[in-house]
């Protein structure tokens, strides 16, 4: 007499299994969505690795700017604190979005090394003249080869480099207000200690 109701209960529970699985999956997807992580963001392969060896020329025809003398990997090492390397281009709309944040960081004294990616020198010059120049040093990567060595897959991308010249963080996309306050500033502060 007791076996039959027990079998019935088991079967009923079996029918509930798909619903339970559905709930578990929905929960997992919801949790993933709520973290705000974007699956399209590819993690950098260079985190905690030294910056690749490179050497960049200055942006042509911008002689009046003191920082416009190109730079190399050695220039990123041995600074007093962490530095930023920012890949940008005048044709890149998200670069315009992050520009005010870069300007603010520059005013606060954070050294930003700008890599002008696949840009015409005259366009780069016009962009900086119009929106301001947040970069301590300028380099031009017209072929995009240095960008490939950094693992850049689109502009803007920003790399945080510690005193030893190691890449500690990479952000692909514009440094918005939220990214600046929520992700970049805490890391800058941690690396200054």
């Amino acid at each position: 007499m007791t076996a039959a109701p027990r079998a019935m209960t088991t079967r009923r529970l079996l029918f509930l299994l798909p619903a339970a699985l559905f709930l578990v999956l929905s929960g997992a997807f919801a949790a993933w969505l709520l973290t705000g992580r974007d699956a399209r963001h590819v993690p950098s392969a260079l985190i905690d690795r030294p910056v690749p060896a490179f050497s960049l020329a200055a942006i042509e025809g911008m002689d009046g700017v003191a920082g416009n003398r190109g730079f190399a990997d050695a220039d990123l090492r041995g600074a007093a604190g962490p530095v930023l390397v920012n890949f940008w281009a005048s044709w890149c709309i998200p670069c315009l979005v992050e520009h005010p944040q870069l300007m603010r960081l520059a005013r606060e004294g954070v050294p930003i090394f700008g890599v002008n990616y696949k840009d015409k020198p005259e366009d780069a010059r016009a962009f900086l003249a119009r929106h301001g120049d947040p970069f301590r040093r300028h380099g031009a990567d017209r072929s995009g080869r240095v960008a490939v060595d950094f693992g850049v897959y689109g502009v803007p991308e920003t790399y945080l480099i510690d005193r030893d010249g190691r890449i500690r963080w990479r952000y692909a996309g514009p440094i918005t207000e939220a990214v600046l306050e929520g992700e970049l500033r805490p890391r800058l502060a941690a690396l200054r200690r």
């Binding site: 590819v42 392969a45 690749p52 072929s143 995009g144 490939v148 897959y153 689109g154």
Partner: protein, 175 residues
């Protein structure tokens, strides 16, 4: 009149659909100027390119994509091949910069074990389900058979014997 219009519209839609499906998939956007002079090296470079994901369009290989970055990577692959790198070394060159995500065929390692094991696990669960289903059906058939067999095994009562005899004689017809 309207029916003919409708039919014409359906035909046009069908033709459009056919045309869309017949359009050749995006061909490799290789510029002849990009190609290596040595056909063997060029073939190797193209094979390597088909293994590498274009990071801008993600589900295309760099051999298929006409994104700027894909073109840069195609050129770098050709440089490495021309410099005498092995296929493996060329892939490693790109992986060192962009991570294993660029490999369209992910390697088997700790990070990808779930990916590779998933089909086997799903198959194992399916097989388990099938086995359990058949086992239960067999045991259910066994118990059902026993229920039917038990009364049949009992000997017929005298009345039943008599009725059976009448039936076999054809004497007992329902009214």
């Amino acid at each position: 009149m309207t029916r003919r219009l409708v039919r014409g519209g359906a035909l046009a839609a069908l033709a459009l659909l056919a045309a869309l499906t017949l359009v050749a998939p995006a061909q490799a956007v290789l510029d002849p100027r990009e190609m290596l002079a040595d056909p063997a090296q060029e073939a190797r470079a193209r094979a390597i390119g088909r293994e590498l994901r274009c990071l801008v369009c993600q589900n295309q290989s760099i051999d298929d994509s006409n994104a700027d970055l894909a073109r840069d990577l195609r050129m770098i692959v050709r440089e490495r091949v021309a410099a005498g790198d092995s296929d493996e070394a060329v892939l490693q060159f790109v992986v060192a910069r962009y991570g294993e995500f660029v490999l369209l065929r992910p390697p088997l390692n700790a990070a990808t074990i779930a990916l590779w094991a998933a089909p086997a696990i799903v198959l194992a669960f399916g097989a388990l389900g099938v086995v359990l289903y058949f086992r239960r059906r067999r045991s259910e058939a066994g118990t059902a058979g026993a229920e039917v067999a038990t009364p049949a095994a009992a000997p017929l009562s005298p009345e039943e014997q008599a009725r059976l005899a009448r039936l076999l004689d054809g004497g007992d017809r329902p009214a």
